[in-house]
Every structure is written in structure tokens, then in C-alpha cells.
């Protein structure tokens, strides 16, 4: 039975079948990889590019970054302070979900893109205080139309910069590479 199957595989038709199966598997894998590299859909297509170009500071919308662990996302009240007075808010389809959210009072469920797993404790404040810029870790957000995460935020990425930042300072190196600094 198995031998007959292998004999059949060696025929031209069998070879083509093997080729098709291989191609199908390969494209499924490639598509799977591709989707992991895509930015997720957001409830509102919020364009950073437009807003940062107006000169709005990152910290106006993400004020937690200089104060604590989490940068925070703005609530619709902050958006509405401007958009309430902007003509386009009434007409733009892109802004309809914002209007709905304000009217219904329901919060907007943004999909996180810059995220580390639960077992990692990250702290924005320490980094901003040490003089790091948002761009060092998030890429050039001011050019993004929909939030994306150009870096792979894995442990090697954190540690590379930590080792580099510590330089010759032995005490700092110990602190910044200690498992207990990030995992607890």
C-alpha cells in the first residue's frame, strides 16, 4: 500500500501534486508571517502624521510617559476639545466613530501595537528622565498614519541598549541587566 503510494509519487502527476502541496504550505506560512508584520486595524484611523504636524507634543496626548510606567492613550474628551470645533468632524467618515464615542460615552478600544508581555515590567519615566526620545524606541511616529511598531521589542533589544547606556558604570550595568529589574 505504502509502496504503491511512493511509486505513484514518482510519476510526473505525483511530482506535480507534491509541488502543489509544497507551494500551498509555503504560501500559508508566508501569509502567516506577513500578517504578523501588519499593523492591526484600529477603531479610528487616527493619523499621527496629521496631528504631530500641527505641532501637538507627544506628551500632550501621552502624558504618562514622563510621570510613570505607562504612557497612556488619550480619551475621547481630549480629542473632542479640538474636534468639537472643527468643521470636518461633522462630515468626515473617518471621524464618525469618534462622534459616536463622544455621544454614547463609551470608551474607544484602541488595539495595542507597542506592547511587551505581562511578565515584563517596563517603565517609561526612567527612560524619558535618562534623556531617551520617543523615536529611539517607537520609530518616527510623526510620519505614521496608523500606529505601527517598527521594532521587535524583545529582551535582546532592551538589553542591548541597557548595556550600551551603562557604559563603564559597573553599578548601573548590574542594575540594568538584573533579571529583577524587568521580571517580577
Amino acid at each position: 500500500m505504502i509502496k504503491r503510494f511512493f511509486d505513484w509519487l514518482k510519476q510526473p502527476l505525483g511530482l506535480i501534486a507534491v509541488g502543489i502541496v509544497f507551494l500551498a504550505l509555503f504560501s500559508i506560512a508566508a501569509y502567516g508571517l506577513y500578517t504578523t508584520q501588519q499593523s492591526p486595524e484600529q477603531p479610528i484611523q487616527f493619523p499621527h502624521k496629521t496631528h504631530v504636524a500641527f505641532g501637538i507634543q507627544c506628551l500632550y496626548c501621552h502624558p504618562g510617559a514622563s510621570k510613570g510606567p505607562s504612557a497612556g492613550l488619550p480619551s475621547q474628551a481630549k480629542c473632542w476639545a479640538c474636534h468639537n470645533q472643527i468643521q470636518k468632524t461633522q462630515t468626515s467618515a473617518l471621524l464618525a466613530p469618534l462622534k459616536d464615542a463622544v455621544l454614547s460615552g463609551q470608551s474607544i478600544e484602541w488595539v495595542p501595537v507597542a506592547i511587551v508581555p505581562d511578565f515584563v515590567q517596563f517603565n517609561h519615566r526612567a527612560h524619558i528622565a535618562a534623556g531617551k526620545n520617543c523615536e529611539d524606541c517607537h520609530g518616527d511616529v510623526s510620519q505614521m498614519n496608523i500606529a505601527e511598531n517598527p521594532q521587535v521589542m524583545n529582551m535582546g533589544w532592551c538589553l542591548n541598549c541597557h548595556v550600551e547606556s551603562a557604559g563603564e558604570d559597573q553599578e548601573k550595568l548590574v542594575k540594568l541587566t538584573d533579571c529583577g529589574t524587568c521580571h517580577y
Binding site: 510621570k67 510606567p69 508581555p117 505581562d118 511578565f119 515590567q121 517603565n123 519615566r125 526612567a126 528622565a129 548590574v174 542594575k175 538584573d178 533579571c179 529583577g180 529589574t181 521580571h183 517580577y184
Partner: protein, 247 residues
């Protein structure tokens, strides 16, 4: 040739001891055994409720427990003072060298025993080698019925099944206080923060702080009371918790 038997215990350097940084003083004379520390610890550190059945198998997961012992023969039994038992954050910890995955390591920065949950593969060697029996294992993914999930502490990892865990001396509070102090450009002050168990103790039987600073309250208490005991010190574990009783 000298064999291991020729060496006296005192000559055998089992592993390099670490000086302590954070330490605790527990006064057993004023501990009433009320279990407030046990509850506070469970809330602070997202400890699972294992339920009646698993608890019966000895799988309860408290990071701190109140031990009670009895002395004498019936009817002359006398209870010894309550003894809160938690990870002693040994300077030379028996749990560390036996971990095949290097998941329990010594923090050089904070001088604590760390349990890196994501590194842990659940061999349970560390728990078997702990003379204080203070490590607990997640035998299951225990359920948190709906409203309970809302009280999880975001600063502490929620552990999964198959992972060992133990008292961390509330390292999340240590980091928070250090971060706060750094933001304000100063050093962490003694008594500025404390662990959940010490905070909850109505009798103030637990004191937490820097043992490497002679001016801190823990160091002062240890000096004033003088005759504190460290449990199983003779094993060379260099524990960082000091117990007082009968004084």
C-alpha cells in the same frame, strides 16, 4: 589525600555568601497570629485561591504563613509564639544552585532571591531544596471568578500553571519607591514604603527596611533587641529575616 569528611563544616565554603540589602525583623512576642499579613500578601501579589480540595493536598500558595507549634504533653500543652514564615531571601540560597534552568537567581542589584517566572519550567527542585518550605507551585490555572479579576495588581505578573513562586519582599514596591525617589532626585528614605505584610500588620510586628544602613529602623531594632534569631542559620543560608521572641 584529604576527603570531604576531613574538612570541618566551618572550612567548607558552600558558596559565596552575599551581604544583604533589604531585610526584615519580626517580633513574635507581639504577633497575634491574626493572618492579616497573609491576606494582604495574597492581595498584593496576585496569589491564586486554590480552593478546598487542592488546599487539602497541601497546595495552598501563600507566600507567608503563620506557623504554630506546641510544647509539652497533654494536658500541659503550651503554644509557642506565632511564627510568620516567609522566604528568608537567603544570601547563600539553597534554592538557587539546584535550578537547572537558572530561573531562580540572585539579584546583584537588590540582593534578593529572584524567581523569573517566564524562565521557570517547573522542575520544583528549588522547593524541595528550600529548608524553610516557603516556595509554592502552581499546580493548576486557578480560576478567578469575575469581579475578583479586577483586583489584580498590575505591577505583578499573573503566574501560570507549572510555575514556581515565592515571596519577593514586594520587589514591585521597592522599584516603585526607587523610581519615585529618583524622579524627585533623592535617595529612598527609610520607612517611605514597606511590604504588604508589614503594612497590614495591626500590631506592627513586622518591620522592613535596609539592613545595610545602620540608621534604618530594622537595623536599630536588631541592635536594641540584641538577641534576634535567624532560622536555620547553621545551614549557612545567611537569611535576611530576624526573629525575636521572649524578650
Amino acid at each position: 589525600m584529604a576527603t570531604l569528611n576531613d574538612l570541618k563544616i566551618s572550612e567548607v565554603k558552600l558558596s559565596e555568601g552575599e551581604g544583604g540589602k533589604w531585610g526584615m525583623v519580626i517580633d513574635q512576642d507581639i504577633c497575634t497570629g491574626c493572618q492579616a499579613c497573609v491576606a494582604a500578601c495574597a492581595m498584593e501579589n496576585n496569589i491564586s485561591f486554590v480552593g478546598e480540595e487542592d488546599s487539602g493536598y497541601g497546595r495552598s500558595m501563600h507566600w507567608i504563613r503563620i506557623e504554630r507549634f506546641w510544647e509539652g504533653e497533654y494536658p500541659e500543652v503550651k503554644m509557642t509564639p506565632n511564627q510568620p514564615m516567609l522566604c528568608q531571601q537567603c544570601g547563600s540560597a539553597p534554592c538557587e544552585p539546584v535550578c537547572p534552568a537558572f530561573a531562580t537567581v540572585h539579584s546583584q542589584a537588590e540582593k534578593l532571591n529572584l524567581q523569573v517566572y517566564n524562565r521557570c519550567v517547573g522542575t520544583r527542585y528549588c522547593a524541595n531544596n528550600c529548608p524553610y518550605q516557603v516556595r509554592s507551585f502552581n499546580w493548576r490555572d486557578y480560576k478567578r471568578p469575575e469581579p475578583l479579576a479586577n483586583q489584580l495588581n498590575p505591577d505583578v505578573t499573573v503566574r501560570r500553571r507549572g510555575v514556581m513562586e515565592k515571596c519577593t519582599f514586594c520587589i514591585q514596591r521597592i522599584h516603585k519607591a526607587q523610581d519615585q525617589a529618583k524622579a524627585e532626585g533623592r535617595e529612598v528614605m527609610d520607612g517611605e514604603f514597606t511590604t504588604a505584610c508589614a503594612q497590614a500588620c495591626p500590631a506592627n510586628a513586622i518591620t522592613f527596611g535596609r539592613t545595610d544602613d545602620p540608621r534604618s529602623l530594622v537595623s536599630q531594632l536588631a541592635k536594641r533587641r540584641g538577641h534576634g534569631a535567624k532560622h536555620l542559620e547553621e545551614l549557612g543560608t545567611l537569611p535576611n529575616v530576624t526573629y525575636f521572641k521572649g524578650g
